[in-house]
């Protein structure tokens, strides 16, 4: 069993338990047996001594009379019963002078005690001598002594003890074996089950293994804890797999290149995005240095950066998004954007980089910029078209008036009494020489003065009417001039912010639409509160206002109200000036309120859904806003344009001025 390489710690638990139980039993047994033997030996010795002394005392007492009366025979008779005690080898009675008076047993090997020896035991190891003085009435008349064999009875006791101990030892060992076999069920077997299960777990990574708990003792708790641990590990393993699977799935489905590299800069993980971006397969790149996908000129820098990070932990690019150039397998160089992260595990440092090919993005950005520019241009053109339409519309309207005035003047001229006047003049010329007679005598001539008088009245009237029409005509022409001049004035200042009073902008917009409003019989209401100048691109504001007024006009037209009205107000609100355009037209359903500013949204037959959208954008651009409110369908609508107040240096200094005036 014992080999040179025997070690207790290598034994199976079962053997350990058996050995420990044996050892414990042995130690306990020897301790008990030894202790008991020592105690018994002490007891035996005491008893032995006490018995001998008691015997000696009785003998001494019983011998006293014999000694007193010098009766050796009786003394010998008294001593004779000592024969029943085999350990007594010799006994004797000494007279007062130490002479032998009586004796028992064989020849006394040991010297007899002195006549003055005191009561007690002389221990000579193997044999003892017990001495008892013989006293009569307080006087010593002799000495009694016993020579006893101590070694014999003691060895007999030892033999008894050895026999009993051996028997108990054998019994105990047998019991220990039985106990061990029984204990095995409670201790060794659960531990063995645990060991087997953990071996299976370690070998197969199968966390579904469970061990049957046998009870609620420490082993039962250990088993329960082991099972619980397995369950937890199983859960965590599952969660980890799931998370890993999720990561892999995300990484695989990402169009970005996701690359994980170790502390040496060697590729550990290479996703589909990386494959598509760089042209290398994952198997091709696994374990390869990252410098492979970098243009030659970056490689030294990359190596230095890696080395620096490994040694000092100082990172320049980690956590930032940087733009770099990459090298495809086909040698093509391309720009990419990279976010780098790092982490440490037991296996060392790892770098994770997410790379995006920004070649396409850059192109897309450019395309977007171009399309935005185009849109901007379009909107500007559309805005200008709007204004131009307004201008033309108004000019058309005014021209209509001009036309009417001209026709009226022509009609008047056509119906003029001037020819009558010519006839009268011809008549007068016929009668140049007899004008007097003709007037006084000729009946025709007699009517002439009255005719002339009436003609004069007609002509005066006609002249006045014609002049009025012509004045109107002139006014209309002047109006057209103004409209054109205004349009020019707005067109010429596009893109420049100017400080202008809001009322002027409102009045200009109204002016542009006035003819149209007049024609449709729309009543315009104004309410202008004093307001500071606004800093705006007045062309844009005009566009917005014209658009709002036209929308309002359409709204009231569509509503076919008998009293179409449009109200416009200007009010100051903090650092903004609000221009509100309200109408009592068709209104806006609540569901459309949020849509009206959306590009492409229109309720008009020929609308393109651009006016309010671009208006709102323009207002925002200038630091203002365009909003709408309506009580609902048929309840009219109010559009509010807020514009930033022009702030001048002197305005800013006002507080200082106030300080001066206050003091």
């Amino acid at each position: 069993m014992t080999s040179p390489s025997f070690r207790f710690s290598d034994l199976s638990i079962r053997s350990k338990v058996t050995l420990i139980t044996f050892a414990a039993s042995l130690v306990a047994l020897f301790a008990v047996a030894g202790g008991l033997y020592a105690f018994q030996l002490g007891q035996f010795r005491q008893t032995f001594e006490r018995e001998l002394r008691t015997l000696s005392r009785i003998m001494a007492e019983n011998c006293a009379a014999a000694l007193a009366f010098n009766d050796a025979k009786t003394a010998n008779e008294v001593l004779a019963p000592l024969g029943v005690k085999p350990e007594i080898q010799h006994a004797g009675v000494l007279g007062a002078d130490g002479e032998n008076f009586a004796a028992f047993g064989g020849k006394d090997a040991s010297p007899p005690p002195r006549p003055d020896a005191t009561a007690g035991v002389v221990d000579r190891g193997a044999s003892w001598t017990v001495v008892e003085p013989i006293v009569l009435d307080g006087k010593r008349i002799g000495t009694f002594f016993i020579d006893a064999d101590y070694a014999g009875p003691r060895s007999q006791l030892e033999r008894v003890y050895l026999t009993v101990t051996a028997a108990v030892l054998a019994g105990s060992l047998l019991l220990a074996v039985l106990l061990t076999i029984r204990l095995q069920h409670f201790i060794t077997r659960p531990i063995h089950a645990l060991a087997t299960a953990s071996e299976a777990v370690a070998r197969d990574h199968d966390y579904s293994v469970r061990v049957d708990p046998h009870g609620h003792d420490e082993l039962g708790q250990l088993t329960a804890a082991f099972n619980h641990m397995l369950a937890r590990i199983g859960e965590q393993d599952g969660a980890m797999r799931e998370s890993e699977e999720r990561f892999r799935s995300v990484a695989e489905s990402a169009s970005d290149a996701i690359i994980v590299a170790d502390g040496e800069g060697r590729v550990v993980s290479w996703n589909k995005g990386a494959r598509l971006m760089f042209g290398y397969e994952a198997a091709e790149m696994s374990g390869q240095p990252l410098s492979l996908i970098m243009p030659e000129r970056f490689r030294a820098m990359h190596a230095a950066g890696l080395k620096r990070y490994r040694e000092t932990g100082a990172a320049h690019v980690i956590g930032k998004t940087v733009e770099l150039a990459g090298l495809r397998k086909n040698g093509e160089e391309f720009p990419f954007e990279m976010a780098l992260s790092t982490w440490k595990t037991g296996a060392g440092i790892f770098f994770g980089s997410v790379m995006r090919d920004i070649g396409e993005r850059k192109a897309a950005e450019e395309a977007l910029r171009l399309s935005q520019q185009k849109l901007l241009d379009t909107s500007r053109l559309a805005g200008m078209a709007e204004v131009a339409t307004g201008v033309l519309h108004n000019v058309g309207n005014v021209l209509n008036s001009v036309n009417i005035s001209a026709s009226l003047a022509l009609d008047k001229l056509r119906a003029s009494k001037v020819d009558s006047f010519s006839k009268a003049a011809a008549l007068i010329a016929q009668h140049e020489h007899d004008l007097g007679d003709f007037i006084t005598k000729d009946p025709q001539g007699q009517r002439l003065p009255r005719f002339l008088q009436r003609l004069s009245g007609f002509l005066t009237e006609e002249n006045a009417a014609t002049r009025t029409e012509l004045e109107q005509l002139g006014k209309n022409v002047e109006h057209i001039k103004e409209i054109v001049a205004m349009q020019q004035s707005y067109a010429s200042v596009t893109g420049v912010l100017e400080d202008v009073p809001a009322e002027q902008l409102v009045e200009d917009a109204l002016q542009l639409n006035s003819a149209s409003f007049a024609r449709h019989g729309i009543e315009i209401g104004r309410k202008f509160q004093p307001a500071p100048a606004v800093r705006v691109d007045k062309h844009k504001v005009l566009q917005i206002l014209i658009n709002l007024l036209r929308n309002a006009k359409h709204a009231v037209e569509d509503a076919e109200r008998p009293d179409p009205r449009i109200g416009i107000s200007v009010a100051s609100a903090g650092d903004q000036v609000c221009i509100a355009v309200a109408d009592n037209g068709v209104g806006i359903p609540a569901k459309n309120l949020t849509n009206v500013f959306r590009h492409g949204f229109t309720t008009k037959k020929n609308g393109h859904g651009f006016g309010l959208h671009s208006g709102a954008n323009a207002a925002k651009e200038m630091g203002g806003a365009l909003s709408v409110s309506s009580q609902g369908e048929g309840m009219g609508a109010t559009f509010t344009l807020s514009l930033p107040v022009a702030t001048t240096a002197s305005d800013l200094c006002t507080p200082a001025n106030q300080l001066i005036t206050a003091s």
């Binding site: 009379a65 009366f69 010098n70 009786t74 007062a96 009569l136 008349i141």
Partner: protein, 176 residues
């Protein structure tokens, strides 16, 4: 004043105190008489007090009496100082005042026995058949040495108790 002297003195005293067996018959008998006192129990009424002397009487003039007086007078027995008296056989009161009375062979035993009958007096004689005749103890000669016979019933009739140890050493025990 040296150790040798002390040891010698002690040995001398020790050799004198117990019965000197190698000595003459009277001295042996005297020692026996003294020792008898130690194996016999008197009723408490026999002594006036705990310190009252125990009186060892010898009837008439005898060598045993001399020896007794010489050796044991002034010693003590059973806690009582020993007093040795010589008493006349005719003086009944004197006889009765003794605790132990030795009647030598020369004296008339029967008269003394009658005189002390019913009194707590241990009577020791040496005449023939003394124990049979009513004496509690009697010296006899056997194997050339002094022995004694005992009559415990006679002793108990006098109110005395004789130790069984003494009876065991006795040469013969008379039961009457």
């Amino acid at each position: 004043m040296n150790a040798r002297f002390v040891v010698l003195s002690v040995l001398l005293v020790l050799s004198v105190l117990p019965a000197a067996r190698a000595e003459s018959e009277p001295s042996v008998k005297a020692a026996y008489l003294f020792n008898f006192a130690k194996f016999v129990e008197w009723p408490a009424s026999a002594f006036a007090s705990a310190q009252a002397p125990i009186v060892l009487g010898v009837v008439g003039r005898d060598a045993v009496g001399d020896e007794l007086a010489r050796t044991f007078a002034g010693t003590s027995a059973n806690g009582h100082p020993v007093e040795v008296r010589r008493v006349a056989a005719s003086d009944a009161a004197a006889l009765r005042s003794c605790h132990l009375l030795f009647i030598p062979a020369s004296e008339r035993a029967d008269a003394v026995l009658a005189a002390v009958q019913g009194h707590p007096v241990l009577v020791v004689g040496e005449s023939e058949n003394f124990a049979r005749r009513g004496g509690a103890l009697a010296f006899v000669k056997a194997e050339g040495t002094v022995k004694f016979e005992a009559n415990p019933k006679a002793a108990s009739r006098s109110g005395l108790t004789v130790s069984s140890k003494l009876l065991r050493v006795a040469r013969g025990v008379v039961e009457r």
